[in-house]
Symmetry: C2
Subunit: 999 residues, 2 copies
């Protein structure tokens, strides 16, 4: 894996230690520092080495094993001690600077904040261990838009003093240039405000040198020819070019410091070509004297900016969506490669749970979660989970995840076996096994959340004659739902495609039953053959309706009822008898055709990055296609075939007040020669007034207004693509009475193009490249033997309509359950005396304790040496009492929303300070020390706060800083962690070794 | 300038001094030497850096100032002392090896041997001075065919033990592979035979690595991935690839040593990419053990070959012409850029003369011939004088020559002024000045040859009332020839094109008169206004004939008479009344159209490199165009306009028995969309029986037989292009009675496509690129302001018909005079008493002495420190008494030629041992020491001979080695240099300082 961004500053090394030779040998003076009364051009030598894009990460590394900055960690472990000493010397002198310091430069749209934290922590740990260095600078120069969570959480909370990035909307950039506001103080969190702000600079033109200053081997920029004995001496000309470019940049920049990013993708393969020219430029430009050129780093630049005592404009919200020019919105990649995105999300939740189990069992050197952690870290790269890599590279990421998963699975199984202690626990879905030989199937269900969960689970079984008992031997209600052909054939197809074999057995039913699992613990359930006829699980009633039938069907068990109008094949009425919400809801599918701009003057196709629709097409359910209703005591399902390549199940579960929609989409047809981007729309009567909310990396919700940007007067050229936003947790909208929320199971793009309607893009299949470098059409294809067809994806979305002000509880708590689904393990057991032989339930925390509803343990991980890394996240936002997020344009009516916002936080009960009792989180261990550390755990939190630069902002504050709340330091005796809204606190905890009892 | 080829062998430096690090750090074992009982794969790391091709030499250097092997001399002078010490250490250890060692890798077809010697001497001097190293290996891997002179003169005579090259005919290569005869002992000289032989190896496929072993940055070959922790581990696969490639090469190679040229054009820009892979390959291949891989150099390889005691096939003659595949004969470049070729040749002769004058005057640090020497050295590069560079690069070479010339011109003028001693001597043609103001024009004429010369010279004058006196005041006969319009307008055009101005005065006449100049000396002549009417120079009689007139006109003054048939506009009869040769001669012009293969399956256009005619077109003299005859006492001229773009003058001079043809060709018309290659044919009745002779680099003549190769059964696919050969001195043919010789004024391509006829290609203008990398059509264009037209070239050829056995005297002696034309300087003088004020004649050698007719001083140059470098060249060949040059195919009749060859040398009088008296060559100095040195003057000759490897050859010798003659060592008292036929002997001579008199 690689630490993607490492700064280089070789200047001194290039010229130091040189003997003054004969007259021909030039010694260039590159020792120049800052000159206060001149324009200072900070030359920052850098290379941007994607950890996978056109080639896989390893192909990039071994194929160009040639430069210190490329895939630093891989390179580092191959080096001799002598070379390591040289590098350490360069790092200590400041000539080589680590910035960002994650394992990759993660994406900011399709990534979940927990993954971002994990991958940054991995990289920072490596740098700390090897160099005792704490990176100070955020460096996200290539990701395709920038998130609020990146700025405050992966920026300020990591201890960065500044944050630099390259890609912001072309209209925004133009305005910022004219206002000298490319550099701002960014307050990304409404809850944490100025306590989590960061100095943030967008570069004038991505992350390249000024035109004419590219010095890679074979680059065409004129080199400085300063040998008068050779032809084409050009020193003055090049100095003039330099000064002109510097002055141009100074004209759009505050203070007399500008930064030049001297490098771009995969440069410095032969660093001398750059440094030779930079040496000369510094030497001759400073002889010229008009401007001051110096070797610099982002740290030096940041300190120079800070030293000017300048006040900076404030930036809130984020930089999405990103368009690099007209009609070129990079909003397609929010959905590109939906299967990979889902795989990453599943692995993310699994990694969280697996580390908990690893901690409970005790970390092993041989089998652990490291490989999965590495694979997940790389997968966060901005050409990985984004879906903007070539197909073979996407395959490589998936392969790495699968290898990591396999190793973690062994760990998980052995941990559960160890905890149970039931031998031969297997995580592999064994539930399809025949139970006829008198065997019982034991299902072990692990809950990685800090609160007890009651859920309906479903397990495929081959026989209907089954019965379920809980771990106390009590029979519990269960329901059998027949597996429909669509699922069975899809299952067989995928087994054939990925395992190369046809399944021996085909399950006939889903067996559904309600389970209850303690916090950070497991429960066990036993599935066995029903001994008496009639005693077995309840079979669902199944009714099939044809579209010709004119009837309405109601489904639902408790408070929530849905009524489907069968003649239209559509849901029509949503009624919650508890909350008294009644709503007419319609769900539909449609697709956009990908724009083919090949023959345009300024060609811009739709592609992996870019969403550029060429028309909207509603998919009407096919004539004479039936809908099937399955009903039973636990689950009601409405199955609908939307067309030949879209199948949908609407599911209601006993005890739950949300609707679960499962969809199967694909292969998207391309026989007509056009690519398609498939969306679903859920339409309500919510009077959303152009406004909706989407999450930032699954964390803070940000207000979005259709065809509007807070920072500039938007010129609308793409009324759909330009209103798309990334969604990792969910999207919602509201009016004075109601909130309508949709949650997702992976990163997708979505919007509200019509008031009251939420639209999600589910799948993309395109036939053209969009000219952003990947040079491959996003046409995902699966081949079984020689039969290739477009990728079929399967996913879920969840929606709920709440009374105004009551939606966040579901979005936050259930959202966390989507991220951390219950984890199953299975075992077969002869006879029924097994209960006596093992521990049927377990909780990692004190059995009397549960974490507050507004807190999640997002990391619980044993470190080398027995210490534990613990991260606690408050899940709710505090919105402040005077917080005005955006300046509404006068054309927009101010609605009730504004007033409510004045009152309080996201949730009236849960957006409050809360406490976690560490002693109860670790009931079996004795805590000897709790150190609060930075988010990436590479320094003490107090040290980080002490060093933090405090930037001045211009204009009146829009938020009363006094309202900002933070949890107090942890009292070493009480060991209670206080968490303010949206706060994440990170601790390294030490235990007294060998406490009296373990587990 | 650059020493083009430098061997790299970094292996030890890569792995030496490395600490044994942690397990991940690999130390590769690359210390492997030769293993006698295995197949040894000599990995020779090299890069081939053209000193100009697509970019100029300086552009290549400063644009990629990044690697030790590139343009070594330029790089070297920029280095610190510390770096120089590192390099010296590498050179001393053998890790870095200088091979070839010239300033460039000169071409072998379009170069004159004197230039080849000079440029090699310059490079060898640099290497000797800086490193005390004498290169042992010839390395001509890229030139487009290989010459006999290269092998024996620039190979064996320089002291090389072996010589490696890349390009030989594809048919030849195929046969040599099957016979394992790519490696031979090459005896390039008929005269010197085994005393000048060299081990010579053609590589199996040019000079690249085996397919799949290219390791430059960004190359696609699979790198050795030996980290089992990363994906795609491929060590065994790569070892297998290596072994397979080695075995394949071993199968076509004698002995168990093969060489891999690990590099190609402009590689090792970042050497680590290569050495990392080579390290790994050596390590793992040797662990595998099937073959032995080692870091090597051409020296180590040569020694390994020698140690096997193998016998090698003998190769004689040369490797021209070169075709790299069917229909792809690289014979176009023999003529490409004829103006540049002429410029190089003019400068070459001038450089020789200028160094003589520099010696006579005493070398100055400020103004000297160094810059011209450097420019000429670079111009010998195989993409320089060849004409295969881009246009702007050709311009750069010309510019360098012009700068060098300007500096040398100052030196020449001041030397002559110093010798005269007449103030203000100017070399600039001042003869056009008006003489009416009572001024005289003094013409100083320098002869750089060692024998006295009597020639007719011509000077343009503006007035016809002039008279010429010799330096003793005696009036001498002169003749005025009117300048025809074609010349005047061409002159004005070129002045405008190159100087940007229109000439103020236009000369009206050529003033011709006979001069006599002593060896290495000058004479003076005075041109003044005729004082008496009628006493002035004789005006030529001028007659104009129209093609309609039916008459025959005879021209000529003495023995040689030509008769022109005016109604055909053609010469018809050639009669020499002394030698009794009578011959019907026809001269014609024609052109080939350049093949356009763009749409072929295997495209092959005609272009800068490749001659591929698509049809032959005879140019018929235009109807009704007149011929003009000018006659007078000294010169007779026949002016003929062949067509609108070809003009020709046939010239006979008093006292000379050859015909001089001056031609003006161009702009070659391209309005019809086809490129053209313009040729002239001179047709006689000589019964040449498919056989003709062309020189090798202006030195040895080599027999050529049409549609035949001595080394293999030629498959003829290009009956014209495949019979073209390079010509630098001349071409001749013979039958039992006569010899017909044509000499040239520059490098051209030529052949005999029809018996009795000699064809020369004079000009090429093509519209397509021939796909050999230059990527530019050879369409030379001259622009005056905005008016651009095709290049017009002007040149001369000379022909003579002699009785059998008498031609060589003219070819050799007059050929030397073409190379070293008389050099003019001018001065104006008031009155006529100037004779008393200066020395009107001078000879650098003893006034009683003249060098033998068969010897030329090809170098007389003062070295730093007052020593003198002297090279004496015997000009005649010794052919031996049993020498059979080629095995005649049975289909060819053996003619008289064979018998005559059995008898004696090239000339019955002059192919003999001869002597030069050094004391008389330096009459004004006292010689203190004469050291005979190698041809490139970098080691004592005796030391060179002592070290020389003596290679074994297979089969019976075709030549009696005992017949080979060499001059004996110089007796330090007698100081007489003995020269055998074709021998060139090089001496460094020291003088007693401050002898009694100088000059």
């Amino acid at each position: 894996m690689g630490n993607e961004a490492v700064m280089l500053l070789w200047a001194v090394v290039m010229t130091a230690g040189i003997l003054a030779g004969e007259s021909k040998y030039m010694v260039y003076n590159t020792s120049q520092g800052i000159v206060p009364d001149k324009l200072n051009v900070h030359l920052v030598a850098h290379t941007h080495d994607d950890v996978g894009w056109l080639k896989t990460v390893d192909q990039y590394y071994v194929g160009s094993n040639n430069s210190i900055q490329a895939f630093f960690q891989r390179w580092w472990r191959d080096q001799s001690e002598a070379m390591k000493l040289v590098v350490k010397k360069l790092v200590n002198s400041g000539q080589l600077e680590f910035i960002n310091g994650g394992m990759c430069m993660h994406d900011e749209a399709a990534t979940h904040y927990i993954d971002m934290i994990d991958q940054t922590t991995l990289g920072h740990h490596f740098i700390k261990e090897e160099f005792n260095v704490t990176p100070r600078i955020g460096w996200q120069i290539d990701p395709f838009g920038h998130s609020a969570v990146q700025a405050y959480l992966l920026g300020a909370e990591v201890g960065f003093d500044s944050f630099f990035y390259g890609r912001i909307d072309y209209q925004d950039r133009a305005k910022r240039k004219s206002e000298k506001s490319l550099e701002v103080v960014w307050r990304g969190s409404k809850s944490l405000g100025s306590s989590s702000q960061i100095f943030a600079g967008a570069s004038p033109e991505n992350y390249e040198p000024p035109s004419g200053f590219y010095f890679e081997v074979n680059d065409a920029s004129p080199v400085v020819q300063d040998d008068p004995e050779l032809f084409d001496y050009n020193v003055q000309e090049r100095v003039n070019d330099f000064v002109a470019a510097a002055v141009a940049q100074a004209n759009i920049t505050r203070t007399n410091h500008i930064m030049w990013t001297m490098g771009t993708d995969f440069k410095y393969q032969y660093a001398h070509t750059w440094f030779r020219q930079l040496d000369k430029l510094i030497h001759y430009v400073n002889l010229d004297g008009r401007v001051n050129a110096l070797y610099s780093t982002p740290s030096l630049y940041t300190d120079a900016k800070y030293a000017t005592d300048q006040s900076w404009p404030i930036k809130t919200d984020d930089f999405f969506p990103y368009a690099d020019r007209e009609n070129a919105y990079w909003t397609g990649y929010f959905t590109s490669r939906p299967a990979l995105k889902r795989y990453v999300r599943v692995m993310s939740g699994y990694y969280l749970a697996a580390r908990q189990l690893e901690f409970f069992k005790g970390r092993s050197k041989s089998t652990n979660t490291d490989s999965l952690g590495d694979a997940l870290a790389i997968a966060q790269h901005h050409d990985a989970v984004t879906g903007t890599e070539k197909q073979h590279v996407a395959n490589d990421y998936a392969k790495r995840l699968s290898i990591g998963y396999k190793e973690a699975e062994i760990l998980v199984s052995s941990s559960l076996a160890c905890l149970c202690p039931l031998l031969n626990v297997s995580y592999c879905p064994a539930s399809e096994a025949q139970l006829s030989q008198g065997k019982n199937l034991i299902v072990v269900i692990y809950n990685s959340l800090g609160w007890k969960r009651a859920e309906i689970i479903r397990i495929p079984v081959v026989s209907g004659d089954v019965i379920v008992h809980d771990s106390e031997g009590k029979e519990i209600e269960s329901q059998l739902l027949p597996l429909v052909d669509t699922y069975v054939s899809l299952r067989n197809y995928h087994v054939k495609a990925y395992l190369g074999q046809t399944p021996v057995q085909t399950p006939k039913y889903w067996l559904a039953f309600a389970v209850s699992v303690p916090p950070l613990g497991f429960s066990s359930y036993i599935i066995s053959n029903a001994k008496r006829p009639g005693s077995s699980s309840t079979r669902s009633s199944v009714h099939t309706f044809h579209t010709s039938e004119s009837s309405a069907v109601e489904v639902g068990h408790g408070n929530l009822k849905l009524t489907f109008s069968m003649d239209h094949g559509k849901l029509t009425e949503y009624v919650n008898s508890r909350s008294l919400v009644e709503e007419t809801v319609k769900q539909s599918y449609g697709f956009y055709t990908g724009y083919n701009g090949t023959n345009d003057k300024l060609p811009q196709n739709a592609g992996a990055y870019i969403f550029r629709p060429n028309g909207t097409f509603l998919i009407k359910p096919e004539e004479e296609v039936s809908s099937t209703i399955m009903r039973g005591p636990i689950i009601d399902e409405v199955h609908q075939r939307i067309n030949s390549w879209i199948y949908q199940v609407t599911r209601l579960q006993k005890g739950k007040e949300h609707v679960e929609v499962e969809y199967i989409v694909g292969p998207v047809p391309i026989e007509d020669g056009t690519g398609k981007e498939v969306v679903t729309q859920i339409t309500t009567n919510v009077d959303s007034n152009k406004t909706f909310y989407t999450d930032s990396n699954g964390r803070d919700f940000i207000e979005r207004i259709r065809d509007y940007r807070a920072d500039w007067d938007l010129k609308v050229n793409q009324p759909v693509a330009g209103n798309y936003y990334p969604i990792n947790l969910g999207i919602y909208m509201q009016d004075a009475k109601k909130e309508f929320s949709v949650l997702v199971d992976r990163s997708v793009g979505g919007s509200s193009i019509v008031d009251g309607q939420i639209e999600l893009m589910l799948h993309r299949r395109l036939l053209l490249d969009d000219s952003r470098g990947v040079a491959e059409a996003l046409n995902e294809t699966v081949c079984v033997v020689n039969d290739c067809k477009g990728l079929i994806i399967q996913g879920k979305l969840y929606y709920k309509i709440d009374p105004r002000g009551e939606g966040s509880k579901w979005r936050r708590s259930f959202g966390q359950e989507i991220y951390s689904p219950l984890l199953f393990a299975f075992s077969e057991q002869e006879g029924d005396n097994w209960i006596n032989s093992h521990r049927p339930t377990f909780s990692g925390i004190d059995s009397s304790y549960s974490l507050p509803d507004n807190v999640a343990i997002i990391t619980l991980q044993e470190l080398v040496g027995g210490k534990v890394l613990l991260r606690l996240a408050h899940l709710y936002e505090h919105l402040g009492s005077t917080d005005v997020l955006v300046q509404r344009p006068e054309s927009l009516t101010v609605n009730g929303l504004f007033n409510i916002r004045l009152v309080i936080g996201e949730d009236k009960d849960l957006s409050v300070l809360t406490n976690v009792e560490l002693k109860k989180v670790f009931p079996r261990k004795k805590i000897s020390k709790v150190a609060e550390v930075s988010l990436s755990a590479n320094q003490e939190r107090s040290e980080m706060e002490r060093k933090r630069l405090v930037w001045k902002v211009e204009g009146p504050s829009k938020r009363n800083d006094a309202e900002i709340r933070r949890g107090r330091p942890v009292d070493p005796t009480a060991l209670t962690v206080e968490l303010a809204p949206m706060e994440i606190r990170t601790f390294v905890i030490q235990f007294v070794s060998n406490p009296a009892s373990s587990i």
